[in-house]
């Protein structure tokens, strides 16, 4: 749904690294290099970022759409 706060296995804080990770992956950087530079060494923590899908963004789209319609209705 949304990036977990900590690594499931070891408990390292990884939530705060997600946005930088996602941004840099988008620019075409190598995932392994990004993880190394973020200081995420163990494979338990690395998979947390590598395998995360932000489904919350997909769900939020419905609410954004509903809000837009509500505004349009008020406008007319």
């Amino acid at each position: 749904m949304i990036i977990p706060v900590r690594c499931f296995t070891c408990g390292k804080l990884i939530g705060d690294r997600w946005e930088e990770f996602a941004r840099r992956i988008k620019t075409g950087e190598n995932a392994s290099d990004v993880l190394d530079s973020l200081g995420i060494k163990r494979y338990c923590c690395r998979r947390m970022l590598l395998s995360n899908v932000e489904i919350i963004d997909e769900v939020l789209r419905f609410y954004e759409e509903a809000e837009k319609r509500k505004e349009a209705r008020n406008f007319y």
Partner: protein, 271 residues
Amino acid sequence: MKIEVLEKNETNLRLIIREVDVPLMNALRRIALAEVPSMAIDEVVMIENSSILQDEIIAHRLGLTPLKTDLDSYNLPEECSCKSEFGCNLCRVTLTLDAEAKEGTRTVYSGELVSENPEIVPVSDRVPIIKLAKGQKLKLEAYARLGKGKAHAKWQPVSMCAYKYYPKIEITSKNCENCTKCVDICPKKVLAIKDSKAEVRDLLACNLCMDCVEACPQEPKGITVAWEKNAFIMNIESTGALPPERVLQQATKILDKQLNEFEEQLKVEET
């Protein structure tokens, strides 16, 4: 006991500890994981939540966010003099969060939590707590308490606390024919070739896997891997709640306290 610091920063501590035995090292490791207290959000009162995540999920995420801990000015709730279910100023910190998405979708970060004590704040203020679509609101009050790792992993002050034996690698030039098979197979790249001879490059990285010994075609083996019985390499990685050296100090204090209690109990049994 002799301690040598290899690496030290806010979150990591690597030590060589000599002239100790396994039981003591293991006791320290287990106490660091399960008994050293740290601060975490324990109870959340939801005032308004129109977001798409349930109250429980948000509370869980808040609980897992590590908080900077001040062990000297706060008590464990069960040891606090207030004896109150709700806690007092000495065993509880209140944090509040009031977020609303006014201009379109936005992310609420841990930095938006307002603490009554400016010392007890999230370790990182960039942890996403939730995403809100336009018009959604999240308003809550959270109570942080000291707790121990054995009750819940959110109270663990360390994300890694491990030790290994100090390795001892010997390359016998008499038996070694410089085939470099041991150098190629080593997963930690402990060995290196220098002047066409195998040589130990990074002794501390060795994890005693013995692959190099197995790869050696010679009989008797040209390389031997052993470990020192009374020397260890200890590695501590803190979540940021406490500095790693403080975690170790606290662990030794707790061990001392437990042993004293044990001794007292024995005396009572004897009489």
